[in-house]
């Protein structure tokens, strides 16, 4: 089955391409237009006038909750939410039950994804056994089983020595190391940003230094081991500064930003609504400004959702006992387009898409993120001007824990194509 996408604005950052043209898909892969005349039958046509034709978007930070927490999300439902958000590839975190710290669990996730997921699902493996931060997980075996990175996401390896060995070992097997940056001593029982609102509301504070200390640690270890460490969901101004300074010296360290850390600040917690409780927490206007600057100058090169579904009954509890996290796959593109392109003019559209496509693909060393002929035909059609309202009750996710219900957004994926097949259409 072949398809031709007509008259769209093709933006392919990997090839620095931005032009109105047609895009041909033959047997699930991109093909040069010259091949059109050799096809035995006419390809299906998709009219993409006034739409952006982007390489399929990649979200490298998603919690799919399986195995073990199927009441929050499943691989099937999470993949559907991804497709509805315009994502053709998602990377799932290992904090499942059992923890994804063994080849058998990785094999289970991959098998399950093949069976039920409508988008590409790439698993990560744990850094430490059981995410306990005490012993290395079998990182080499995990690499052979097909993980694209190792991380203890949701938790953070506290021992600098163990982290150093993990990074050294990961270098040997060619896996990037992702890290959820949180110093447990400094953060303690913190549930919200330590500042004015934590002081006013008497909620335990999570100081920015609790993130920055680990980002700094990672900069030192990335340099020591000459290997890549990717700092997940960066929220604090100081973290951006540390990344910028380390990158300037050639250290192999990167960072990612989630939309909620740009769209929201810590004043939102004043009604104790647990849909504003996430880890790392919402911070201040100054932090948002620093994140925007980091995105503008390239310090931050990857955008992600940290899609973290939780059931209503789990979130509808006292603020300090509620689980951290919000869903994000379906609102992510709209929020980033709105915040970074329409409102703040932080980046041009092509650069925004670069942060969703070629940049994560390079970090993960995967065959995705471009429209080059021969590559798997993962495509996202985007209407960047479409104004729409997010209705959480109609979400594809099993969970509804989002602070963005009812938000008016500008820009949305209108069609998601994986390996040449449309998996979602507005």
């Amino acid at each position: 089955m072949n398809t031709i996408i007509r008259n769209g604005r093709i933006i392919d950052p990997a090839n620095q391409r931005d032009e109105v043209a047609d895009l041909l898909i033959v047997d699930g892969r991109f093909a040069p237009l010259s091949q059109l005349s050799t096809l035995k039958s006419q390809p299906d046509e998709i009219n993409a006038s006034n739409l952006i034709v982007s390489p399929g978007l990649i979200d490298l930070h998603v919690h799919l909750r399986e195995p073990g927490f199927g009441w929050k999300e499943t691989i099937e439902s999470g993949a559907r939410a991804a497709a509805a958000g315009g994502f053709t590839t998602i990377v799932c975190m290992p904090n499942t039950s059992p923890v994804a710290d063994s080849p058998s669990t990785i094999a289970w996730i991959k098998d399950r994804a093949t069976e039920v997921a409508c988008v590409n699902v790439l698993p990560t493996g744990a850094i430490s056994k059981g995410l306990m931060g005490e012993e290395l997980a079998p990182i080499g075996s995990l690499a052979q089983a097909g993980v694209v990175a190792i991380t203890d996401d949701g938790r953070c390896v506290q021992s600098n020595e163990l982290m150093r060995r993990a990074v050294e070992y990961a270098r040997m097997v060619g896996l990037p190391v992702f890290d959820h940056c949180q110093d447990y001593d400094l953060v303690g029982k913190g549930v919200v940003h330590e500042g004015y609102w934590s002081t006013l509301l008497g909620l335990p504070g999570w100081p920015s230094a609790g993130e920055e200390a680990i980002v700094m640690r990672n900069a030192l270890l990335a340099e020591l081991c000459d290997h890549h460490i990717h700092c997940q969901h960066i929220s604090a101004a100081g973290s951006v500064r540390i990344l910028r300074e380390a990158q300037a010296r050639g250290v192999r360290i990167s960072g990612e930003v989630c939309p909620h850390h740009l769209a929201l600040t810590d004043d939102r917690i004043q009604n104790f609504d647990t849909n504003f409780k996430m880890n790392p927490p919402l911070r201040t206007r100054e932090d948002v400004t620093a994140l925007l600057e980091g995105i503008a100058d390239g310090t931050i090169g990857i955008l992600c959702s940290d899609h973290a579904p939780h059931a209503g009954f789990e979130k509808e509890v006292e603020f300090d006992t509620a689980p951290f996290g919000i869903t994000g796959l379906e609102t992510e593109l709209g929020l980033f387009l709105d915040l970074l392109v329409h409102q703040n003019k932080t980046v041009a559209l092509a650069r925004l898409l670069e942060m969703f496509t070629v940049n994560p693909a390079r970090l993960l060393q995967i065959d995705a993120g471009t429209l080059s002929p021969g590559r798997p035909a993962d495509v996202t059609l985007i209407d960047s001007e479409l104004e729409w309202t997010f209705d959480a009750s109609r979400s594809q996710s099993i969970s509804r824990n989002t602070p963005f219900d009812g938000w008016k957004l500008k820009g949305r994926a209108v069609r998601t194509i994986v390996a040449g097949r449309t998996v979602w259409k507005l």
């Binding site: 303690g188 330590e194 500042g195 004015y196 934590s198 002081t199 006013l200 509301l201 008497g202 909620l203 335990p204 009604n271 104790f272 009954f313 509808e316 509890v317 006292e318 603020f319 300090d320 006992t321």
Partner: protein
């Protein structure tokens, strides 16, 4: 009983002082004046809440606050039951929401909640028709304690506006401190927080108060000193080096008390660590109004239950 002024009370819940206007605070204090008089009668009971059911729902242990609410409710002729965390289904894994919904289904008119999580009373207030009274939530607010403190100060000093009130001790973890700060500032007092920098961080200055780490510089100008309990049971050891050093730097010793104005009030929400935050004799001395606070607490809680209980329509 006559209404003390023209204001009409409109809240079914009392969640904190921060959300109240100065007019509302004054209205509660004025209402408490009337109930204070009831406490001096031979028959101390009025029928204001007859037929209403009040649940003292204390998820975090408390004796003095729970007792005060219980006596206040009994004097208003409400029927009272007490539930502690140990005796509730919370220990069986029931959520706070479910437990509270059960109470409402049992026609509880008023729920007095003490909880270790900031925001728990608001959580219930948004979900129940019952009247929710915050009896202390985490380090957030303890509104009736602040109201009884304000009432005690007003009774002794005639007014709150223009007074200099020093709150001394563990401010960071104190809901009493926060509620007092909000109430005192709304009624025009000047507030200085005193204590070690770990327990009185500078972040409090943004609330409109002065932060000091030198108690001897603050005491001479204070009209009221409110000493908070050093809660060593809920702290990690890093907050200060030890009790001995705390007393040396911040304890209200007899020697330090000489710096106080003769008419400066000494207050303490209790329970007191005698010999730690305050010298034992000072706690019982002429400047101490600690027992007044307890008695006034009854009048304040009667006023609050009467006002909010009159709004609730389960």
């Amino acid at each position: 009983m006559t209404q003390p002024n023209e204001m009409r009370w409109q809240r079914k819940d009392l969640l904190g002082i921060r959300e109240l206007s100065s007019g509302e605070i004054t209205f509660i204090l004025d209402t408490a004046d009337a109930f204070k008089e009831v406490g001096t009668r031979e028959i101390k009971k009025v029928p204001a809440l007859r037929g209403k059911t009040l649940v003292n729902f204390f998820v975090e242990p408390s004796t003095r606050t729970r007792t005060s609410f219980e006596i206040a409710a009994i004097r208003l002729s409400a029927d009272v039951i007490n539930i502690s965390a140990m005796s509730s289904s919370l220990t069986k894994g029931e959520t706070l929401k479910d437990t509270a919904k059960i109470l409402e289904a049992n026609h509880a008119d008023i729920i007095v909640l003490r909880h270790s999580s900031s925001g728990a009373p608001q959580f219930l207030a948004e979900r129940l028709r019952s009247s929710i009274i915050n009896a202390g939530d985490g380090a957030h607010e303890h509104p009736t304690q602040a109201l009884l403190d304000l009432y005690t100060i007003r009774s002794r000093k005639g007014t709150i506006a223009g007074l200099h009130v020093a709150i001394i001790g563990d401010i960071l973890f104190s809901r009493v401190a926060r509620s007092n700060i909000f109430g005192l500032l709304k009624l025009g007092a000047r507030v200085t927080l005193v204590g070690p920098s770990t327990l009185v961080p500078r972040a409090f200055e943004k609330l409109g108060v002065t932060v000091s780490h030198k108690i001897d510089e603050v005491l001479p100008t204070a009209d009221v000193v409110n000493l908070l309990r050093i809660q060593h049971e809920r702290q990690r050891k890093e907050y200060f080096p030890g009790i001995g050093e705390y007393i040396r730097l911040f304890g209200l010793t007899k020697e330090r008390a000489r710096l106080l104005k003769p008419d400066c009030l000494i207050m303490h929400p209790g329970p007191i660590n005698r010999g730690v935050e305050i010298d034992s004799e000072l706690a019982d001395g002429a400047q101490s109004v600690i027992l007044d606070q307890v008695t006034n607490g009854l009048a304040i809680r009667m006023a609050v239950l009467y006002l909010c209980g009159g709004i609730a329509t389960p």
